[in-house]
Amino acid sequence: MKQNEISMEAINLTKVYHRGSEEIPAVHDVSLKISKGDFVSFIGPSGSGKTTLINLLGCLDNPTSGELLLGGRRIFGNDGRPLSERKLTEIRRELFGYIFQNFYLIPTLTVMENVLLPLTFYRKLGAGNDVLGLLKLLGIDHRKDHLPGRISGGEMQRVAIARSLVNSPEILLADEPTGNLDTKRSAEIIRILKELSTTKGLTVIMVTHNLELARQADRLFEMKDGGLRTIDGGVDKKTSGLAS
């Protein structure tokens, strides 16, 4: 289920960190367009800026310069002023779901309670009506009353995916989602992400070290020294300006 509607557009996104008087460019002039329902992956060595980029795309951080449009709505770049933490949270909970390498499940809450947790803070209209169905879809409904410490790593990541989906996000950001999993379970998680992208029209943006897994995405980008390249059928195409 692919749509041509633009989900996300970054224009010359730049992030510079400061260490004393030294300027460290983490992301430099990155532009890209991601359509609704796309499954894209970012690959690159440590320190290449891929996590910084995904943080900017996921509204976890303000860029130093550049623009970000989500569903046609301009998020960064209006007046150059950084958005407050509150404003960023408002955008995040409306549009994004996040999963991380370390799952970050609350150990004292059951699988079901962990999945329901986002609804405690915010409930998007029409969201969270079929949580059990979501658990079934991810194959963890039989674990709903278990504590995270009692289930496998693969199951924990599936719980994290369920938690990220409970508020019906438009975009799922996955930062090294398979970093703590073995090959078999990693493949399982990628299969789930791909399925969500194709069947539910969910835009999935994944960061990984694993080229083999990254290649399973519809589109593959490589981050290097803060710049972005798109890899198309093994042929590198420099994304000077726009990678779409």
């Binding site: 440590s46 320190g47 290449s48 800026g49 891929k50 996590t51 910084t52 995904i54 943080n55 976890l60 951080d61 933490e85 509150r86 949270t89 995040r92 909970r93 994004f96 996040y98 991380f100 390498q101 370390n102 970050y104 609350i106 150990p107 004292t108 809450l109 309670e113 329901l116 947790l117 986002p118 609804l119 405690t120 803070f121 915010y122 938690r163 990220s164 508020n167 930062d175 090294e176 960061v207």
Partner: protein, 397 residues
């Protein structure tokens, strides 16, 4: 749906020992607060009751320290001073006096009292005038002695229990080789009379060779009389002093008020220590959950939500600790009372630790208030955690 309350509660269970220790700290401080304030309230009430139940407004005694004499009269003790019994006739004839009751107190060392012996006090009274003065005294068994020089005794409620005597039993005055037949046992009155052994005044004077001597004369003045003028009048009598019980009460109460400040200071210190413990525990918990709190923000929690979560944890801790402390104070109030009685040189009869609903509500509100204050800083700190910092602390990109 899971509520913030459930999340906070379950989080407290994460480090059970730490939560339990913090809870114990709060409970102990609540216990101290309730017990100390309960003691203050109880002591004040018991003292008021004791003095009001004396039945007379004034005591005439041989010259000496008036407050020492009053305390001795209330509690019983040694170092007694004597006055001529003839003074009682002078006082009785005064037109402002409604009635009087002459008394002779005698004390002996009783080797069988307590673990290593103790002072046994005997009060020689005229049953008619004493009974008229203390109309609230009623008998559980028997009645007053019938003859002025009988070898008979009436036991207060606690004295009878302590001596394990019934009407018809005999009691012996240690060192005097004299036996008294118990003819009456009083009901509990909640006053010093409960622990007193009453014998006929004449008999006691005879046994202790104090014929024509008294230690105290209880005086009840007429309603229309000006008690301070009567007091001045009696001061003119030779070798006696007048103890006005209203003044005694006022003096002791002002001492109690001073003690109250000290007691409250101790309670406040205990609470401050508990408060520091709570802040420390919650701050540690926030620090340990740095990443987790950051992630909560990525899944939709606003800074205010995080603030509430942490604040609820603090409030839960303080509420549970406060309730536990109050329960402890209630359960152990009897032991607290025994300890206080052992320490204090003078304590009124009846319950010394009085914990009522008002005190419990006050304590719980105070502990909750402290909880709210203690939680402010950790909750504010937690609310400020940025999700990006939490992720950065874990990821190299």
């Amino acid at each position: 749906m899971i509520t913030k309350f459930q999340v906070a509660y379950k989080n407290l269970l994460r480090k059970k020992i730490r939560t339990l220790l913090t809870l114990s700290g709060i409970a102990l401080s609540a216990w101290v607060l309730v017990s100390l304030l309960g003691f203050n309230h109880g002591f004040e009430t018991a003292l008021n009751r004791d003095i009001d139940n004396m039945g007379f407004q004034m005591m005439i005694m041989a010259k000496g320290c008036p407050y020492e004499a009053a305390t001795m009269m209330l509690k019983g003790g040694t170092g007694l001073k004597y006055m001529e019994q003839s003074i009682s006739d002078t006082i009785r004839r005064d037109p402002d006096v409604e009635k009087i009751t002459p008394m002779l107190m005698q004390t002996v060392f009783d080797p069988n009292k307590g673990e290593s012996g103790g002072i046994a006090a005997y009060l020689g009274v005229e049953p008619k005038s004493y009974g008229e003065m203390k109309t609230f005294l009623t008998f559980r068994q028997g009645g007053w002695f019938m003859q002025a020089d009988a070898y008979e005794a009436v036991l207060g409620f606690e004295a009878a229990e302590l001596e394990q005597r019934e009407v018809g039993d005999m009691i012996l005055i240690p060192g005097k080789n004299v036996q008294f037949k118990v003819v009456g046992i009083l009901n509990r009155s909640g006053t010093q009379d409960d622990g007193t052994i009453f014998v006929p005044l004449v008999t006691l004077q005879k046994i202790f060779e104090k014929k024509g001597e008294l230690t105290t004369i209880g005086v009840k003045v007429k309603k229309e009389a000006d008690s301070s003028r009567v007091e001045e009048k009696f001061y003119a009598l030779p070798d006696v002093q007048v103890v006005n019980l209203a003044q005694v009460k006022q003096t002791i109460m002002s001492l109690v008020a001073t003690a109250k400040v000290l007691v409250l200071s101790i309670a406040i210190i205990a609470i401050l220590i508990a408060m520091v413990g709570v802040i420390n525990t919650i701050l540690m918990s926030v620090h340990e959950r740095f990443q987790e709190i950051g992630i909560l923000k990525t899944i939709g929690a606003m800074p205010g939500d995080i603030f509430q979560l942490i604040w609820i944890e603090t409030l839960l801790l303080c509420t549970m600790g406060g309730v536990l402390g109050v329960v402890l104070a209630l359960l152990l109030s009897r032991i607290t009372e025994l300890v206080i009685r052992a320490i204090l040189p003078f304590s009124p009869s009846g319950g010394l630790v009085l914990i009522d609903a008002k005190l419990i509500v006050f304590t719980l509100i105070a502990i909750l208030g402290i909880g709210l204050l203690s939680g402010l800083y950790p909750a504010w700190q937690a609310g400020r955690i940025r999700p990006l910092e939490a992720i950065r602390s874990d990821v190299n990109g």
